[in-house]
Amino acid sequence: MVKKSLWNTIYFLSVCSFLFLALGCAWGIRDILQPSGSESVKASSKPNETLPVPAGGLLLGLGDSLTRGIGDPGGQGYFGIVKTQLTLREKEPMSSVNLAVSGLTSDELRRQIKQPHIQNLLKNAKWIVMTIGSNDLFQSSGSLKKIDVAAAEKSRLQYQQNLTDILTEIRTCNPKATVYLFDIYNPFGDLPEANLASRLVTAWNNTISQTAVQFDRVIVIPTFDLFAMDPGKYLYSDHFHPNHLGYERMVERLWQVIQDPPKEETTDGQTK
């Protein structure tokens, strides 16, 4: 008897759900085919002002494939390694967001950081690490066989403008965070055309340094020398991105600087 009533309940439920779901289906079809728009979406509301950032601070990665960590078999890249080291050092929990996109050019980065939610992240960042420019340079200068010096020069000027815009934008959003900007290395150091490529890279690196000094707390981290002598050892098999060893070398540089407390804070036992 109990069984019988259970069956009847199921039967009843089945009939109900049949009607209910048919209603839902009809409703759904109507909504898709004739969007009522009864509750239209209001245009971009202001993003909330503060992110709940942990006390340890926010590490923000910007830029191209180097910050993304392409070439590192572990997928960490310098960003991942530095993040781990910082996590170990900081007593308080910290957070990190990596906004780098492989293949990003300075122009795209300039547009990316205009987005309100990315600005919101910028505002809350304590450290900003970035790599930008390699894609501008190596896309514009054409194939390695015949490097187009004129085109490279033209895009260098464009790059200078973009970098200035980017750093201005960052400083406007966040006057306090330190920006660590890696410069460009020459991945083709062991190829016949190395000299010309190196000259280009140096010119670009000068641009980076000259642009960076115009801003407070924007620190350029040199990488050119790291890959100059033995590119094969520190580059990934694509002969463009660093491998794990290469990224570790970049981290060594970055770590030396990132450890220093920000300028304005007086030493309060943070120096180690």
């Binding site: 069956w7 199921i10 039967y11 439920l13 089945s14 009939v15 759900s17 049949f18 209910f20 779901l21 048919a22 209603l23 839902g24 289906c25 009809a26 409703w27 759904g28 079809i29 909504d31 898709i32 085919l33 969007p35 009522s36 728009g37 009864s38 509750e39 239209s40 979406v41 209001k42 971009s44 509301s45 202001k46 993003p47 909330n48 992110l51 709940p52 950032v53 942990p54 340890g56 926010l58 993304r68 929990p93 910290m94 957070s95 990190s96 967001v97 990596n98 906004l99 780098a100 996109v101 492989s102 293949g103 309100p116 939610h117 990315i118 919101n120 992240l121």
Partner: protein, 327 residues
């Protein structure tokens, strides 16, 4: 007629098949819940923040990185691009697409399950509805009754539709109850965006509007129900044609799985869109998830499913009423 349907429904329930399905759901839903819980927790740990803006921003950037890879086919790139645009839209309008909670879980669940998981459950339910009468030898008893054959088959079909409805309801309820224990039971009134459509490579947002989540869930499950009924109908035909339960189930499982696989494997093969099994993802039109194969829309998918269902019914009824039951 009512008695016949009632009778068939009782057979369906008594066969314990529906309890097997309930058991599958009881085992799988906690696993899915845990999987989702883990992913959310891991991302949160990785980023060190629980703020969904940051999580979604990171997701968008990750997708952009996948986009820059040369490995993926163009159709996938288009799909990713549209997806990014949609996520960006959520971000720009300050609406969290995945606020945790039971209602969100069942929404995400049905969107994932509608193409494969739910059809498989329906197949389990439907595959033997006629063929089991052959296997058990009860077909003769059934047909010697003074009732027209088509009425018998019709009552079986209606019972199957009712059973399918019950199955969908059970999925929703179990999903809500189980996931709610982890994510909480709130969120029915949370706003969800719908009305995205695609025009070539672009996401069209002119018709985007907000729905409370309960309404959205109801619609999504209604659409999933429609797909499941279509699958049920095709299984029903196979069950009439094939006398052994095992082979009818095998045929349907193979068809459902390969249909899903094919559209993933060869999104540029446009003829695939005329298969019923590639049109099961009706909820995609609601969520605005881009379709992989070009030229699919809700009316198109509905038409394909309806045509397949009608043809299946026709075949099933013609075969069943004409067949000699001698063996």
């Amino acid at each position: 007629m009512q008695h016949l349907i009632y009778n068939e429904m009782m057979k369906l329930i008594r066969k314990k098949r529906i309890w097997v399905i309930a058991l599958i759901l009881l085992i799988l839903i906690p696993i899915f819940t845990y999987a989702q819980y883990r992913t959310t927790k891991e991302t949160m740990e990785r980023l060190g923040t629980s703020d969904w803006h940051a999580l979604l921003t990171q997701q968008i950037v990750d997708a952009q990185n996948r986009l820059s890879s040369n490995q993926i086919p163009d159709e996938w790139k288009k799909y990713l691009k549209l997806n990014i645009e949609q996520q960006q839209y959520y971000l720009d309008h300050d609406i969290n697409p995945t606020a945790p909670g039971g209602p969100t879980f069942i929404r995400k669940f049905v969107e994932q399950a509608v193409e494969l998981f739910l059809p498989l459950l329906v197949v389990i339910l439907a595959a033997d509805i006629v063929s089991s009468e052959h296997s058990a030898g009860t077909i003769k008893l059934l047909l010697t009754r003074p009732v027209p054959r088509f009425k018998i088959l019709l009552s079986k079909y209606i019972a199957l539709l009712l059973g399918t409805s019950f199955l969908i309801l059970m999925t929703a309820v179990l999903g809500y109850v189980i996931s709610g224990a982890v994510f909480g039971y709130e969120g029915w009134t949370m706003p969800v965006l719908t009305g995205f459509s695609q025009n070539g490579n672009n996401l069209v947002t002119t018709h985007v509007h907000l729905l409370p989540q309960w309404k959205y869930d109801l619609m999504a499950y209604g659409l999933a129900w429609f797909s499941c009924c279509a699958i049920g109908t095709i299984s029903f035909m196979v069950s009439v044609l094939v006398r052994s339960t095992a082979s009818s189930m095998g045929i349907m499982l193979a068809a459902v799985i390969s249909g899903g696989l094919l559209s993933q494997l060869a999104p540029s093969w446009e003829a695939l869109k005329y298969l019923a099994f590639t049109n099961l993802g009706l909820t995609d039109y609601l969520s605005g998830h881009p379709t992989l194969v070009e030229g699919m829309s809700l009316p198109f998918s509905l038409a394909v499913l309806i045509i397949w269902s009608l043809l299946s019914l026709l075949v099933a009824f013609v075969v069943f009423t004409r067949r000699d039951i001698l063996a």
